[in-house]
Amino acid sequence: MIDVQIAVDAVRLALERGATDAECTLADGDEFSARVRMRELETLKEAGSQAAGLRVLMGRRAGSGYTSDLTREGVRQMVESAVELAGIATEDPFAGLPDDNELGSWDGDLKLWSDDVASLEARFKIDEALAAEQAALAADERIVNSEGASFDSWTGGRAFANSRGFAGAYRTSSCSLSVTPVARQDGRMERDYWFSLARSHAGLEPAAEVGRRAAERALRRLGSRKLPTCKVPVIFEPRTARTLVGHIFEAVNGDSVYRSATFLAGRLGERAASEQVTVVDDGTIPGLFGSSPFDDEGVPSRRTVVIERGVLKTWLLNSYAARRLGMKTTGNAARGVAGNASIGHGNFFLEPGDKSEQEIVRGIGRGLYVTELIGSGVNIVTGDYSRGAAGLWIEGGEFAYPVSEITIAGKLPEMLTGITQVGSELEFRGSTASPALVIGEMTVSGR
């Protein structure tokens, strides 16, 4: 378990060297990864690492250093480096730490740690990966190959201390199981994947289920066609809807707001999405991946409603962006270990609506159901959205055939106000999540 005292000592040393304020982050962890392919063990990886980062303020000038050497000498060099760098920075009237009364920690068991992860035997983890892959390979004779399956586990800790007296630490554990089968038909191949991720081994989906779903996804892509260019309703399944929720996060990120680098800048209090849309950031849900007792500036995690029935209620802020915008931090500071804090999210999700995915598909009549998005064609400054897509064509309220090598495009401000339906099932596979959703009309480009 990481020793928060190292951070406390680094902060004290920084003050001795003339810093007016300082904050130190420590992180350590042990990773294990077993990867199998075509029923054979392929890779075993096992190792531990640690790192420290220090940010100092000399008045309103900030400098940072980091190191993986946590000995007294390593920490001393990091302190010297940060102090030297503060010397070349410019006075920034907004540089600082959170106010003393903003510091603290969420009180309650967030269930971020489970003993069962650290106690799993290597052999067992290999067998789980083999079982998941075998379930995919056995699912259908068209599953002819595999990019493999892996079982990964992680146990680690984070600690933080600053010169205002905050010192805290917590441990996290996680494990995951994933499979990527390859299906073939008429000389064309398609791959897809499925995975399960949990804080405890007990929370993982059964290996056979992970493999079966991966195979099902790869199989349903076979025989795909390219669509003619058209404007139609688009259904995002949860896995792709989640990426839209990620774009909403980027658009309410306080760092982008004060630079006017988001299409939502200046829209606080206004309708930014349809009435179906309520978006919440909650860093306090036990057992989830976006949960933590405090953020990376020592401010308690909390629940924040970002968009309520379509109305933009707040930005997500760290203390810097908050001072810059004349607001209060929302406890969303994030960083690796080094440098100024950026802004991150806790569990960031779209609240479920009342229709099952099946009802949604039936109700849509004709349109596109998107199962995969690739590429980086999203501009948060302008809201321009254009990405590569694959999915299923819906005709008469039913899946008709798979489609690929198409793009979907629109403008995020109109896409958000154009969300006509939100599904009823919400599942977390990471720190962002969304039920299925429907956007009334987008441009699909193809033949």
């Binding site: 096992e46 920075a89 791959r191 100024n340 793009t407």
Partner: protein, 475 residues
């Protein structure tokens, strides 16, 4: 440079004898091959935002990765502590992949000849010099046009020391400098919707080389020009049309359309759309594509790859015919071929895999102006954001960030950002003209694969593709 002159000998007292012992430890349960990869990276990052130097970070990361290969199996462990005890422990953990009698080590390690495709930095470029670069970029972007209202510039540089020792008897060490200056600009007209522009570059160059074509003023002006141009942009078209790619960075098309699909790990597993297609025609005869890690000072270049193998020029496609894959040691051996010097890793915590270095298409014979003149209606793409590929289906995308409509053989209006999509083994068959103006990119490329990022370069001459799907909104 002898081992004794390397940082690992001077700072950590590592000797050839130590390396041999540790390799022996790694192979104590058998296995076909083992290697040790020591890495020490000094990193510095300075950035200006709202004309304030808000962030200045310096740090060191170091460690050793130990790999043991037994048949198709790989065992891997690493340590960020370079004490003999921790290194031995990592060797034993990695060895758990193998089971059998100890492999007897052979005659010891020897250093091979090595070229030198980048300079040794002397440390004379100070923090203040770095600050001056980003301050100049900030001033130049703001001075370029009154509509520029936000400027962020950053200068990131690092020096990566590596020492690689392998059980096949090779030992090599290298000092790899890398730097990059980037400028991001927002512009708006009368309080309207902002548009953004980005430009930057660098490479494995002396830090004093950020002058002239590489000056902060050059990239600041380019970023500002892009943002201002976008203020006039109309909606991008949707559907299939003729696309002309401008020279340089649009070479990312090759990286996505063919480069990844030719990495030998995917091909030995038979999961790439290019698997088993060597000798087949996968592009028009006008296309010759190479990957070359030996070009002086380029961002993607290396003296030796991260398995200690000298980099080389690899011909991927020659006059439209698929010629070869990019292999690391493991995938090379399993395909009965040699490594092509393409084994790369993000850092000591990661297992190397086949990766690209600098990937580009050779010049053709057409005048770029004639290429544009030949298009009655289409899209000209001057700049790109990122791209991505599904190597199994072969479908790839890249995001055009600066493009123009071509109408009656002339560039007319700028259009908003749009994604282009195609299929790797098919797309280049529609290349009908290749310009005589090959240009490599400015040195900003980062390639991601299975969670590992490495610096790469791309390049292309002006190129016309008769048919490609453009993902705009104007149907």
């Amino acid at each position: 440079m002898a081992l004794s002159e390397s940082l690992f000998a001077r700072k950590f007292g590592i000797t050839a004898h130590d390396l041999e012992n540790w390799l022996g430890e790694a192979l104590h349960s058998g296995g076909d091959y083992a290697d040790l990869y020591f890495e020490y990276v000094e990193n510095s990052s300075i950035s200006i935002d709202e004309s304030i130097i808000k962030s200045a970070v310096r740090g060191v990361s170091l460690g050793v990765g130990v790999r043991v290969v037994s048949g198709e199996r790989t065992g891997y462990a690493y340590s960020d502590d370079l004490s003999a005890e921790k290194i031995r422990h990592a060797c034993r953990v990695a060895a758990a992949i193998a089971s059998g009698p100890a492999k007897v080590d052979k005659t010891g390690l020897s250093e091979g000849p090595k070229r030198s495709v980048y300079p040794l930095l002397d440390g004379s470029f100070t923090l203040q010099d770095r600050v001056a670069l980003v301050e100049r970029a900030d001033r130049a972007a703001r001075a370029w046009d009154h509509r520029v209202f936000q400027v962020q510039a950053s200068f990131v540089d690092n020096v990566r020391h590596v020492l690689i020792a392998t059980s096949d008897g090779a030992m090599t060490h290298d000092v790899q400098p890398l730097s990059r200056l980037g400028v991001r600009v927002l512009a708006r007209e009368n309080g309207g919707r902002p548009q953004s522009g980005y430009a930057g570059g660098g490479g494995r160059i002396p830090l004093e080389a950020f002058t002239g074509d590489r000056s902060p003023e050059t990239w600041a002006a380019e970023a500002a020009r892009q943002a201002i141009t976008q203020l006039e942009a109309v909606d991008a078209p949707a559907g299939e049309m003729t696309v002309v790619l401008g020279p340089g960075w649009p070479g990312i098309l090759l990286h996505e359309a063919v480069g990844h699909g030719l990495e030998a790990d995917f091909n030995r597993k038979g999961v790439s759309a290019f698997s088993g297609r060597i000798g087949q025609k996968v592009a028009s005869e006008l296309c010759t594509v190479v990957d070359n890690g030996t070009i002086q000072n380029r961002r993607g270049s290396l003296n030796v790859d991260d398995e200690g193998v000298p980099t080389q020029e690899n011909v991927l496609i020659e006059n439209g015919v698929l010629r070869g894959y990019l292999a690391d040691k493991l995938s090379g051996r399993l395909l009965n071929a040699a490594s092509t010097g393409s084994g790369r890793r993000e850092n000591y915590q990661n297992i190397p895999m086949p990766r690209m270095t600098n990937t580009f298409m050779l010049s053709g014979e057409s005048d770029p102006a004639d290429i544009i003149r030949s298009v009655p209606r289409g899209l000209y793409c001057a700049n790109f954001g990122g791209g991505q590929v599904d190597i199994t289906s072969g479908n790839f995308v890249f995001a055009a960030s600066e493009s123009y409509l071509i109408e009656d053989g002339r560039l007319t209006r700028p259009v908003r950002g749009a994604t282009l999509i195609g299929n790797g083994p098919e797309a280049l068959k529609y290349v009908s003209m290749v310009g005589n103006d090959l240009r490599l990119d400015e040195g900003i490329g980062i390639c991601g694969k299975e969670g590992q990022s490495v610096p790469v370069g791309v390049g292309i001459p002006t190129m016309k593709i008769d048919r490609m799907t453009v993902g705009g909104t104007a149907a």
